[in-house]
């Protein structure tokens, strides 16, 4: 692990490092995510996603698939079965579509990663039927993938860093929004003034990708803080 023959490609090991990093960030931010959800939802987002990503990382350590499509099918199906809340089918669909778009390959180039990310976000939009401005995951994911696509020529590492910055800006932009999807929509105008928990965890997903591709991970990591 850790030696990359070609900085323009992303190998399965780095995608696994992305998932491990996401799991670690979700675990570290678990109580924050749940507190955000307590303000405008049913107070389970951090707990649910942490449970799901722990199961994902355990499964990948037990049996790591060799191809990108198989890897993300495992990830998606595990989340669907363990998360329980709406983030299960939403993140599950993201990873399932990501894997299907990537196909049975053992590495992705910058453009291949763009295609997979775009397919994943398309899946979240199709599943949740949310549009930008609805105060959801889409508000972080959509600008992130657009930023990645714009920076794709500079390679996956730089494009992922751009995507992470855009996701965090998109996350912060959810604060004044009025929720139109999920349980937060019952609060209507009272949902304004709060960060959206789904957009917050989605920003962690892109932060994890940027960190994993920047090679900031230790040589061996088990995904736990």
């Amino acid at each position: 692990m850790g030696s990359r023959a070609d900085p323009g490609t992303v190998e399965v090991a780095q995608l696994v490092a992305w998932l491990e990093t996401f799991g670690r960030l979700v675990h570290e931010e678990r109580d924050h995510l749940t507190a955000l959800d307590a303000a405008i939802g049913d107070a389970d987002h951090g707990l649910n996603l942490d449970r799901g990503m722990r199961a994902v990382v355990e499964r990948l350590h037990a049996d790591r698939p060799a191809t990108v499509d198989a890897l993300f099918k495992t990830v998606g199906m595990t989340l669907v079965s363990t998360v329980g809340g709406a983030s299960g089918p939403l993140y599950g669909t993201f990873f399932l579509r990501f894997g299907t778009a990537a196909g049975p390959v053992d590495e992705l180039d910058a453009a291949g990663l763009a295609t997979a990310l775009r397919a994943g976000v398309g899946g979240v939009v199709a599943r949740g039927k949310a549009e930008p401005g609805d105060k959801t995951m889409v508000d972080a994911l959509e600008p992130a993938v657009t930023a990645y696509e714009r920076a794709v020529g500079s390679g996956p590492e730089h494009a992922a860093a751009a995507a992470s910055e855009a996701a965090e800006a998109g996350r912060d932009a959810t604060i004044p929004m009025v929720a139109r999807k999920g349980r937060a929509s019952y609060l209507a105008e009272r949902s304004a003034g709060h960060l959206d928990p789904g957009a917050t965890s989605s920003a962690l997903l892109l932060r994890a990708l940027a960190d994993a591709l920047a090679g900031t991970l230790p040589e061996t990591t088990d995904g736990r803080a």
């Binding site: 669907v80 079965s81 363990t82 329980g84 809340g85 299960g88 599943r127 949740g128």
Partner: protein, 134 residues
């Protein structure tokens, strides 16, 4: 006969709703299956379980899926993508969880087709609403 899948965050809620519906069936064996809670026993919904439940009650006559709130709907929609090729259509009901299930079960027990079962589930609040208007 149309099969029915009952999707809930809570196994206890789903099981009790099915018991209530079965009281109306007088022993007619309508295929009804529960998909509730997650694989780890947590409160929530699990698209893989829902897909399995759909496969178990599926026949050429089709399947109607009743859901409680929130993620139940998203998980059921994902389940229709995960389930393999089946004879017969899978339809998700916008009907109310308890009243819709009772109406669907009773209608299915008469041998009605999926259109009719789905229609009865979707309009299952009508008797309550009209009662309260008077």
């Amino acid at each position: 006969m149309v099969g029915i899948v009952v999707v809930s965050h809570s196994p206890a809620l789903a099981t009790a709703a099915v018991e209530l519906a079965r009281e109306m069936l007088h022993g007619t064996d309508v295929p009804i299956t529960v998909a509730a809670g997650t694989a780890g026993g947590a409160t929530g919904t699990d698209a893989v379980r829902i897909a399995d439940a759909i496969s178990r009650v599926a026949s050429g006559d089709g399947v109607l899926v009743l859901m409680d709130l929130g993620s139940a709907v998203l998980s059921a929609e994902l389940a229709t993508e995960l389930v393999g090729p089946l004879d017969g259509e899978i339809r998700l009901s916008a009907g109310p969880f308890v009243e819709g299930l009772v109406a669907a079960a009773v209608t299915a027990s008469t041998g009605a087709d999926l259109d009719r079962v789905a229609e009865q589930a979707a309009s299952a609040l009508t008797p309550k609403a009209s009662h309260l208007q008077h």
